[in-house]
């Protein structure tokens, strides 16, 4: 047993866990942060091969800028005192989409930041799209206001407030129940413009026939309006800054500390047991691993409420990730790489593409990021960092025999490199100096995530952002145990993780205060 009394134990030092830990520590709580890996970050981390340092998963912080205070992430980073501890670089353009339209024509569109510029570019690629695109972005602004209202009231509103909300955010209300494509249809956005607008769907892991319109439109609006940034020294700069702030505020972090059990006493969380056998008592736990893992592996059956079992059974896993990290021995100019982010898909119809991504053999979808375009000094002069990532919409990596795994990994890399070369016309295969491949198995290994899932639970229509946020209170059915991070209420992304981390910290602090006031009575 430990000789210290902790107010809160946080399991997992990914962005969600770090955020929860810092927020609670800054409020004066005694916090122990436990991480099974030997470094912080979870998915938001990096690794070194030869002369290259690769970011594992960070693509961009949407809407984040050092120059302007937009959005919850920036506000939270300011509050946590880390914005200025990190050197940031801006992403120069939004994205390029190379794909095939459902009407049979080829798509190759480079989309800029700035709403006007974006709408103009769309008009260039899809003549006649301007009017509907304008309407779409106006609607997106209303949606932003709606989300701000929800964030400010934290979902718990009185009936009067609800009425006011419904009245003031009429178009938010009217479009919130529907999928991206259903609303884009209603707005009469032309097919091809819809396809170009939907290119970011890969970042969410669910096709636009099912993805929540308000969630997607809000994110894209934010991204196009404000641009995006990344840390110059890779995402590890974010996690190290968060960890430093946590420790400066009296927090204790332990690495190589794998939590095996979450203990309950009388229906309330009472502590954890580590792999080393050490037992640490604590009545408040914030967990960043999947609820599925926590319930099935870390808790006694009798400690799991029936509602939690049913909710978990109702949910599906989101996308399982894979990425080929390539260090090239030529500069982007020499190779002819001009874009930071290119989405390459066989079909711009997201539902068809989603189906193709169920199997290893039919999945040629790529999200290609060339870090040097945004961050020219990220690798030695005359070299390039290129990451080709994809994801799987089914559990197809489960069928690989372990002894065939390395071959399958190499095949995946070969397939994505060939598809990238064919679709972009850029030749890279003669210049590969370092190459590393992460598959769903790799992600399962490092983070313990079920099936190598990288996007938490699937944001299906009934389980998308808004339904989750509107029922958040009833989702917390284990006393003293809250969840945050990529498996939390706001789906995935650094912003979602840190926001849910903060929410979990404040909700837990409220739990502690409530307990104290009861005990004092």
């Amino acid at each position: 047993m430990s000789d210290k009394n902790y107010d809160i134990i946080v399991i997992g030092a990914g962005c969600g866990g770090l955020s929860a830990a810092v927020c609670a520590a800054k409020e004066g709580k005694k916090v122990l942060l436990l991480e099974r890996h030997n470094a912080p970050g979870g998915f938001v981390s990096s690794f070194v091969r030869g002369r290259f340092e690769f970011d594992i998963s960070l693509q961009q912080l949407c809407g984040f800028s050092q120059d302007a205070e937009h959005g919850e992430l920036r506000q939270l980073f300011d509050k946590l005192n880390i914005t200025n501890k990190i050197e940031w670089v801006k992403i120069p353009e939004a994205y390029r989409l190379i794909s095939k339209s459902a009407d049979g024509s080829e798509i190759d569109a480079i989309m800029p930041y700035g709403i006007e510029e974006y709408i103009d570019a769309m008009e260039y690629y899809v003549p006649g799209s301007k009017k509907s695109m304008k309407k779409l972005f106006e609607l997106a602004d209303e949606i932003e206001k709606g989300f701000n209202f929800i964030a400010e009231t934290n979902g718990s509103t009185t009936l009067k407030e609800k009425r006011r909300f419904n009245k003031e955010n009429e178009n938010f209300v009217r479009t919130a129940p529907y999928s991206v494509n259903e609303v884009l249809n209603a707005l009469e956005v032309p097919l091809k413009a819809r396809e170009i607008f939907n290119a970011h769907w890969m970042h969410f892991g669910i096709d636009c026939d099912r993805m929540s319109f308000v969630h997607y439109a809000n994110t894209i609006n934010f991204l196009i309006k404000y641009g995006s940034s990344i840390p110059k020294n890779r995402s590890n700069a974010i996690t190290m800054a968060l960890l430093g702030e946590f420790e400066d505020n009296g927090g204790e972090a332990r690495f190589n500390s794998h939590v095996m059990r979450i203990l309950f006493n009388d229906g309330k969380a009472s502590g954890v047991i580590l792999k080393s056998g050490e037992k640490i008592e604590c009545n408040h736990i914030i967990c960043t691993c999947s609820p599925t893992t926590a319930y099935a592996k870390m808790m006694k059956k009798s400690d799991i409420p029936v509602t939690a079992v049913k909710r978990t059974n109702a949910r599906n896993y989101g996308a399982r990730g894979a990425c080929v990290y390539i260090g090239l021995n030529r500069s982007p100019e020499e190779l002819g790489i001009e874009d930071y982010l290119v989405y390459i898909t066989d079909s711009a119809d997201t539902a068809s593409q989603y189906t193709l991504m169920k199997l290893i053999d039919t999945n040629n979808a790529i999200k290609a990021i060339c870090l040097n375009i945004a961050n020219p000094d990220c690798s030695p002069s005359g070299t390039t960092i290129l990451c080709l990532s994809t994801f799987y919409t089914d559990n197809c990596w489960a069928n690989i025999p372990p002894e065939g795994y390395f071959d399958e990994k190499d095949l995946l890399a070969a397939r994505l490199i060939a598809a990238y070369e064919q679709k972009t016309g850029v030749t890279i295969h003669n210049n590969i100096e370092e190459l590393e491949v992460a598959t769903p198995v790799t992600f399962a290994r490092y983070t313990g995530t079920p099936q190598g899932t990288v996007y938490g639970y699937l944001g299906d229509d009934w389980d998308s952002l808004l339904p989750r946020v509107m029922t958040e209170a009833t989702d917390c059915d284990t006393k003293g145990l809250r969840f945050c991070g990529g498996w939390g209420a706001q789906l995935t992304g650094v912003d979602a993780a840190v926001v849910t981390g903060r929410n979990a910290a404040f909700a837990t602090i409220a739990d502690i205060d409530e307990e104290r006031s009861i005990n004092n009575e």
Binding site: E53, L139, V173, N233, N236, T307, K310, N395, P402, R445
Partner: protein, 400 residues
């Protein structure tokens, strides 16, 4: 406010919004109560390939030479390891050794083929090193039945078809032969598809370990060749002298080839200038991680005034000061801590894998050029890899 947007109908749209919470609760209500299961194939594969610990047993010991033995290792099923983790030829395992009051971790490259691991066997070769604390211990104490705690296979010294040339010139000495043996075994059993020509440098013919097996494999496969270079004697059909640029060129049958080097620092110091003269692109040259630097004080950038000094290193773990250890400036922090019995996580001892990742909260260390594979942000937050860091003052470090 802009115009009202109608998606399905004015009434339905609002009703559907109001119903969102109930809709979600409804789906959950309909879900089954089947017990949850987080075990699945992908996580099982991950665990099979990368178990946190492999519990092994010595199955057999084979005498290779008077100071070299091969150990055949098998899973120690009684301790919970049912199958050996599969690996890539060239990868290593680290073993944890308790030697008196010291706890040391040493990496050994598996010299057998991955195919053999499917039949529950890894082979590692242990050769006595001058002042070899760990090699002496293993040679003196490991026998049939000895239980070993080992890591999963790790390391980056393997053939990667998309990166390397399919024709590889391997350069090795007696201490670096294991990865090439594993590759040659795998080429011979058909599980590895490449052409390997190994240039094996030794002083004399009778000192080149495992040469019989290498010759057998070369006979068995057209894709593996071995060339011996003896510095101290003439041997029929073998080269005399050292590994030079012209020797490499002589055996590189095509203009496109990759060079893989594995061995001691002495070999590396000798071949680096020779390889440089070949003017190959960086991507075609790969060195195996070969443990700690043999004589760090001789490095040009090593702070000369610290050479004879010993400092005190306070070690913090889980928020507690667990030891204060005297550390010589010319020894890695890891070596000093291990000798003192401090259990530090580590694998490669070469600065590459980052498993020993620790944080300096007071004091300075010297990290030689070229071994520092720390991440950018880690470096700026005082993170070090103790396996390649030398104390330059009294220190306080936090280990995980």
């Amino acid at each position: 406010m802009s115009n009202r947007i109608i998606v399905r109908s004015p009434v339905k749209d609002v009703r559907n919004f109001t119903n969102i919470p109930e809709m979600r609760k409804g789906v959950i209500k309909e879900a089954p109560e089947t017990p949850l299961n987080a075990n699945n194939a992908v996580n099982s594969i991950a665990n099979f390939l990368h178990p946190p610990t492999q519990f092994l047993k010595v199955k057999q010991v084979a005498e290779i030479s008077k100071d070299t033995r091969a150990y055949i290792l098998e899973p120690d099923t009684a301790h919970g390891t049912a199958k050996l983790a599969y690996f890539r030829p060239g990868q290593s395992i680290s073993v944890i050794l308790e030697i008196g009051s010291a706890i040391v971790t040493r990496a050994f490259t598996i010299c057998s083929s991955p195919t053999r691991s499917l039949d529950d066997e890894y082979v590692i070769i242990v050769k006595k090193k001058p002042d070899g604390f760990a090699s002496d211990f293993i040679l003196n104490t490991w026998r049939k039945g000895t239980q070993i705690s080992a890591s999963a296979p790790f390391g980056e010294f393997y053939y990667q078809a998309l990166r390397d040339s399919k024709k590889i010139i391997g350069i090795s000495d007696n201490y670096g032969i294991s990865p090439f043996l594993s590759m040659a075994e795998a080429i011979a059993d058909g599980s590895l598809n490449l052409d390997l020509t190994l240039i094996f440098a030794a002083r004399k013919q009778n000192e080149a370990i495992m040469s019989e097996r290498l010759n057998e494999l070369a006979e068995k496969s057209a894709h593996f060749k071995v060339v011996y270079v003896f510095s101290d004697e003439h041997v029929f059909k073998c080269e005399r002298g050292f590994v030079t640029k012209s020797l490499i060129e002589k055996y590189a049958t095509s203009s496109k080839f990759s060079i893989f080097v594995s061995g001691t620092q002495t070999l590396y110091n000798r071949v680096v200038p020779q390889i440089a003269e070949l003017k190959l692109e960086n991507k075609y040259i790969r060195f195996a991680a070969n443990g700690k630097i043999e004589n760090p004080a001789s490095l040009p950038d090593f702070p000369k005034d610290a050479i004879d000094k010993t400092f005190l290193c306070k070690v913090v773990h889980n928020g507690k000061n667990i030891a204060t250890v005297p550390c010589k400036a010319t020894e890695t922090l890891l070596t000093s801590l291990e000798r003192d019995g401090v259990k530090v996580p580590s694998h490669c001892s070469s600065g590459e894998c980052g498993f020993c990742r620790s944080k300096v909260i007071k004091g300075n260390v010297f990290i030689p050029d070229g071994v520092d594979s720390r991440r950018l942000a880690d470096s700026s937050y005082g993170v070090i890899h103790p396996c390649c860091s030398y104390p330059m003052s009294d220190l306080t470090i936090v280990i995980s």
